[in-house]
């Protein structure tokens, strides 16, 4: 018998607390698979952030620190700077990273911290009950935009992967979605590439993963996947925005 699937070594065999149809479970698996594939489990430290995914530390068999809301890139910087030979990653949602933690991710990226950032975008605040996030789509109803997000009043969605790709310290920036097996396959490659950017000392690697929140979107799980494809993908284009093959900061200053 040929074994074609199984539980990654790094993914703990415990029930997850996520809502039915939530895609955090898929993303956790992708992170675990990348850690296994690269053989780095015993020297990896994760930083969990505030939001539904804070309990990722119960699901992955690596050392973890839990950070204050938005501060995961600063906490990760502290770890990486004192343990430069360890692999450090953050796992952050869109409210955490793009709103309250915008300064911390921007400056970690600008410094070219050798970190991997797994950024899960579901277009609203999940844990607090479905409020508007910086990523909420124009016209999208949330509990704090009951008439739909009005761009004139609330601004337009923040495209983080493109934003960070513009910074010199970022070696890898991509956006994928976890809405179908084909998409998940591409996302798997992106997650691994974001770890490789760190392992090869090239700079910060970030993957933005478009995800679903069926409960707060008011949709059943298959509808949520279809909604993500139909509405989020056009606003947040998929693809690799940057993949530097050599480290930033090594360019001859006289050039």
């Amino acid at each position: 018998m040929i074994r074609v699937a199984g539980r990654p070594r790094t993914l703990l065999d415990v029930p997850m607390h996520y809502c039915p149809g939530c895609t955090h479970g898929i993303v956790h698996r992708l992170v675990a698979e990348a850690i296994d594939a690269l053989g780095i489990r015993e020297r990896t430290v994760g930083v969990a952030s505030v939001g539904c995914s804070v309990f990722i530390y119960d699901y992955l068999d690596v050392d973890f620190q839990q950070a204050a809301h938005g501060r995961a890139p600063a906490v990760a910087t502290g770890i990486k700077r004192v343990l430069p030979d360890r692999v450090v990653f953050t796992y952050q949602g869109d409210g955490d990273l793009a709103s309250i933690g915008a300064a911390e991710i921007l400056h970690a990226a600008a410094r070219g911290e050798r970190l991997t950032v797994i950024y899960v975008n579901n277009a609203l605040y999940g844990m607090t009950g479905g409020q508007m996030a910086p990523t909420t789509l124009p016209g999208m109803r949330t509990t704090t935009t009951p008439e739909g997000r009005d761009v004139r009043r609330h601004g337009a969605p923040l495209r983080v992967a493109e934003l960070l790709a513009g910074l010199d310290g970022v070696a890898y920036a991509a956006r994928e979605a976890v809405t179908s097996p084909a998409r998940i396959h591409r996302a798997r490659r992106a997650v691994e590439a974001a770890f490789r950017a760190q392992l090869e000392d090239r700079g910060l690697g970030i993957v933005e993963l478009l995800s679903t929140c069926p409960v707060n979107w008011g949709l059943d799980p298959p509808e949520a996947l279809a909604w993500c494809e139909a509405h989020m993908v056009p606003v947040f284009p998929l693809g690799v925005f940057k993949d530097l093959r050599r480290a930033q900061g090594t360019v001859d200053a006289g050039a």
Binding site: T44, A67, A74, G78
Partner: protein
């Protein structure tokens, strides 16, 4: 050495190998010194984008087992209180030096003690406490920075060194302690799960679990309150007036007390060295009256009243806004305190 630089050198000699901070007057010589000297001993210096980021970098490095510190001044300390609450909740050791300046708001950059409530009671949300050491001279600042790292490790909690702008900027001769190597990373540090994995977190979702966690913290606070109060006392029993002062104000109070004694008054002095735990035992002696001198609108006076418990009148003498009292005016205040008490109309 200048106070700020002496505290930096003392930290390096105490084995501190990681510093994260953000520039703010009147403490910027401390990070500048670290930037010059930490890399030479294999340490990490990083200028953060904000005090918010700096304290969270401290959290990460402390969790990874490094002997780590930051420094700031009053407005920056306000920003660090979020992180301090998490450090305490996650039981992580570190040292935070605050070189206090005039507030509230932007205030000014002159010496102040107006953050007494903040460092003794307001370190962030939740049941938070931390040992607060208040040096009065540059040599004592050197000694207390070393002690701060030892206490932080002993109790697995942050320790605050509360100096003021005068102490940070003043130059005094100091005797530096011999350098000690940084301690190895403790077993709870997240250095990679070669054996069982470790999680550093302040979350306890179940109320009963959080209660157990907080009660452990409270038990630690009680152990600290029993073991760690530090103070100096001089001639308090039976004095006409006993002055209570810490930090720079205590230094001025020594001169003022000498002046008042020369004029024939019996004057004592209590100098708290730990602001928390407050050295309540120092107030067992009985002067006729207590006079609390501080560079704030009257904050430590609350703790003195609690410690004295109504056994003698507790008066206050305050200068605010960055104004440093002179020994002459404090001696006059002592003389007034010894005289007839004003009766409210």
């Amino acid at each position: 050495m200048k106070g700020n630089e002496a505290m930096a050198e003392a930290a390096i000699r105490a084995g501190c190998r990681a510093y994260f901070g953000y520039p703010i007057t009147p403490q910027s010589e401390l990070p500048e010194y670290m930037a010059r000297h930490l890399p030479a001993v294999g340490g990490v210096f990083l200028q953060a984008e904000s005090e918010v980021a700096a304290i969270n970098m401290v959290y990460g490095a402390a969790g990874a087992g490094a002997r780590v510190m930051t420094s700031t001044s009053s407005p920056g300390f306000s920003l660090m209180t979020e992180g301090l609450s998490y450090l305490i909740g996650a039981r992580l050791p570190c040292v935070v030096v605050t070189v206090m300046r005039g507030g509230p708001g932007l205030g000014n950059i002159a010496p102040s003690q107006a953050d007494y409530f903040q460092v003794t009671r307001g370190l962030g949300h939740g049941d938070v406490r931390a040992i607060v050491l208040a040096p009065a001279t540059v040599p004592e600042a050197v000694e207390l920075v070393g002690l701060a790292f030892a206490l932080a490790d002993r109790y697995r909690l942050p320790v605050v060194v509360a100096a003021d702008g005068l102490l940070g900027q003043m130059m005094e001769p100091v005797e530096l302690p011999p350098a000690v190597p940084p301690p190895p990373a403790p077993p709870w540090a997240t250095t990679g799960a070669a054996a069982a994995r470790r999680v550093i977190s302040s979350i306890r979702l179940a109320p009963e679990a959080l209660e157990r966690h907080v009660l452990e913290l409270v038990a630690t606070y009680e152990a600290i309150a029993a073991r760690e109060p530090r103070w100096e006392t001089d001639g308090v029993e039976g004095a006409d007036v006993a002055v209570v002062a810490y930090g720079t104000t205590a230094r001025i109070a020594r001169s003022a007390v000498a002046r008042a004694r020369a004029s024939g008054l019996a004057v004592g002095l209590v100098r708290p060295i730990t602001l928390w735990p407050f050295p309540a035992a120092a107030f067992a002696s009985r002067p006729r009256r207590w006079l609390v001198a501080e560079m704030s609108g009257g904050q430590m006076v609350d703790d003195v009243r609690l410690a004295v418990g109504g056994r003698a009148p507790v008066l206050g003498y305050t200068r605010v806004g960055g104004v440093v009292p002179t020994p002459v005016e404090l001696a006059e205040a002592i003389a007034r305190a010894a005289g007839p008490l004003e009766v409210p109309a």
